[in-house]
Structures are given as structure tokens and as C-alpha cells.
Symmetry: C2
Subunit: 200 residues, 2 copies
Amino acid sequence: MSGPVDFYFDFSSPYGYFASTTIDRIAAESGRDVVWHPILLGAVFKIVGTAPLVDYPLKGNYMRRDLVRAARLWKITFKEPPGFPHNTIAAARLYYWIHDEDTNKAKAFARAVYAGFFEQGRDVSSAEAATAFAVEQGFDRGAAIAALANQAVKDRLRGEVDAAIARGVFGSPFVIVDGEPFWGSDRLDQVKAWLETGGW
Amino acid sequence: MSGPVDFYFDFSSPYGYFASTTIDRIAAESGRDVVWHPILLGAVFKIVGTAPLVDYPLKGNYMRRDLVRAARLWKITFKEPPGFPHNTIAAARLYYWIHDEDTNKAKAFARAVYAGFFEQGRDVSSAEAATAFAVEQGFDRGAAIAALANQAVKDRLRGEVDAAIARGVFGSPFVIVDGEPFWGSDRLDQVKAWLETGGW
């Protein structure tokens, strides 16, 4: 029972971004690695029958307030991206394309995309915008653009999303520790406790 | 800025029940009282366009697991009521009927209903079942049954629900401190910090 922690997130999820800033440290404190799995919440929402939080009356306004307040409390740099939420399929495909070559570079790419989106207000949704992050990680622009159109890369992401749903993932962030599921950045304290104690 | 804390909840909400076991203590530590406001999530869901968590695929199963796990962690007695969720309109009406006569008895009634529902597995949804809790608090059975059919009592609850929605309440538990909204039992640590610091 000391395998890696699975961290599921959507690149457009601000709570996923919050979790991304601490999940590796929490796991490392218990001697665990973290496998990052970008997914597409749009595909999940179709199964679950939900929608982005911002689309709900009352809930959307609350979420905007909660995000800014939580970021201040946790001292996380956060700026709501313009036109939020965004399509993040290109970034997710590039993540797995990089991942299958170099897992460390994939995590660095994911961190850069999250920082670009939620700290710097950069566009991450178009193919060109997502590709720019891969180029900044040292990948060839042409190869990245070709990867986005590659059916095997598309299938790789689809397989990850299907596998996540099959494991019961329905939101972002979603963390699974030794088969135990935790949903939401507000469950990270329980993730930490579970890792430290082996469960209760 | 030292008025009471407003605590909104639905009698059928397990996370509301969790919050009910600690909200008065958290507020008292900062010298605050708590005003309890039972509401009807069904009415809120119509506005927000959501549904009970248990009705969503994946999310419902997760919630059941999360509830039992959180109760164990926080050492709260918890048993999922049979046939959950239940209609709690009678309990909510009786709460306000009692409240307008004696606020302390109303809170004792609410605690008893929550304990009956989530600790003892008692029925709380029928008029007779809800009335039994009022009788146990020393109220006359006939008067309680009459209150349930009283248009003024019905309007009292409707007014509370409308006022809650007007303040942005869309879930249970929902706590408002000096105009600052907090949704969910997992925000009680922030409620505590907000009360202690006056905000951040």
C-alpha cells in the first residue's frame, strides 16, 4: 500500500490549480509520488449530469468569491482568467504526449499551463496557445502541433478520461490514495491524514 | 460587526447535520451567537438548477462514502437514514412555530430532529413524525398539528426560504458571517478563522 497517489484535474479547474500547488508536497511527506492525470470535465459532466459551477445561479457568484478568498488565505497567486471556463483539450493531449516521453517534463508542462492560466492570465485553450507551453519546455513546435492531430494522442487522452470515470472520478481536483477517493481541494487535509495514518 | 452568525440548513442534509454539531461552539469561541435557519433545499434546487447529491451518478456513491468517512474522522455519530433524502417541510414549519415562541426550545427541537434522523434512524418526514419531536420538547400535540396547517406558519417558512435565496444561499450547510458567505461543512475552519481574525 505505498503506490503513487493519483491526482485528477482539469486544466480549466481553479480548485484543481489550488491542489496542484500542494499535492506533491503532501504526498512526499509520506514518501509517496504523485501521478498527474489531466482529464476533461466536459466529458465527465455528460456522464454525471452536472455543469461547470459558474453556470449555476447563485453558485457561480459564490465560487468566484470563494476562490479569491481561499487563494488569499492559502497565499496562492490567483487571478480569474478572462472568459472562464476554457476548453483545455489541447493542453491535456500535449500533457500525455509529453508524459509518455518524460514524466518530469510533463509535470513541469502542467505546472506551467496552470501558472499561465491562473497566475498570468495567458490563453491556454487554442492549439497554438497550448503548444507555446510545450515549446517553452523544450519541445519542437512542429512536433507538438503534429501530436495534437495524431489519432493515437487523441485516443490516449480519451482512454485516460474513460479510465478516470470508470474509477468514479466526477470532479476536479480528485485524488485517489490506495483506492480511497477524495474530491475537492478542501479534502486535501484528509488526503494528508489518510497518507499519514493509513486510514481511519 | 459582532452580530449573530446565520446558519442555514435543511433537516435532510447530512452535511448540515455535521455542521450543527459544531457551529455554536465555533461561534461561541468568538463571542457570537448563532441563528439557525432551516430551509428547504428542494425550493433552492429549483432556482439553482441542481438536485440532491445522491441523485447524481458517481457523485452519489462518493457522497455516501465521504459522509461515513468524515463522521469517523470527526467522531460524529452518523447513520445514513433509510430511503434518504426525505421531505422535511413539516419539521421546518414546526421549527419556526417554536422559534417565534422560544428560540432556545427551537434550537433544542432542531438538534433533536437531526439526532433522530442521522443518529437514531427515526422518521422525521411525516406530520406525525415531526410533531413527535415537538411533543418531546414539551409542546402540545394538537397545537403542533394545528400549526402545521396554519397558513401563517406556512408563510413564515416560505418567507425564510425566499430570504435565504435572496441572500445567495444555495446549499446546506450555508453560513453567513458579517455578510460573508461560506458553503459546506468543509468551510467551517474558514468560518472559525474569519470569526477570529475579522477576515483576510
